[in-house]
Symmetry: C2
Subunit: 85 residues, 2 copies
C-alpha cells in the first residue's frame, strides 16, 4: 500500500474511533464505566497533535485531530451528564 | 516549544491515554458502558500506524502505537470478560 495513503487511512480510522463510544453513551444514557481521566488525557494529547500540525502546516494532522478533540469534548460532557444514571 | 519534543510529548500522552480506562475496568470488574466497536476501531487504526512506522523506519511511531495496541487488546479482553457483570 502507498505509504501516504496508509497514513491517511490510519489517521481517519483513529480520528473516528471514539464516535461509536459517543453514540453508545447518548443512546444508553449511561456512562459510569467510562474513565474521565482517559477522555481528558485524550483531549490533551490530541490538542497537542493539533498544535504540532499547525507548527508543521500539516492540514491532515490538524483536521483529523481537531475532529477527534471535538468528539472527545462531547464525550466528556456526556459523561458528566449521564454518569449518575 | 521545540516541534520534535512537542510531537514526542503528544505521542506519549495519546499512547498512554487508554491506561486509565483499562485500570478502571479491571478495578470495577464492569465494562458494559464501553463500546467494543470503539476498541476494535482503535486496534485497527493504531495497527495501521505501526505498519506506517515500519515503512518509514520511525521507531517512535512504531513503539508508541504498538504499546497502545497492546493496551487496547487488554481492554477488549477485559470488556468481554466483564461486560455481563
Amino acid at each position: 500500500m502507498n505509504e501516504n495513503i496508509l497514513g491517511l487511512v490510519a489517521g481517519r480510522i483513529t480520528s473516528v474511533s471514539m464516535l461509536p463510544q459517543l453514540f453508545k453513551v447518548l443512546k444508553q444514557k449511561d456512562a459510569k464505566d467510562l474513565s474521565w481521566l482517559m477522555i481528558c488525557t485524550l483531549i490533551v494529547g490530541l490538542s497537542l497533535w493539533v498544535w504540532y500540525g499547525f507548527l508543521h502546516h500539516e492540514w491532515p494532522i490538524i483536521l483529523s485531530n481537531a475532529f477527534a478533540v471535538l468528539v472527545n469534548i462531547c464525550l466528556l460532557i456526556s459523561y458528566f451528564v449521564y454518569r449518575e444514571k
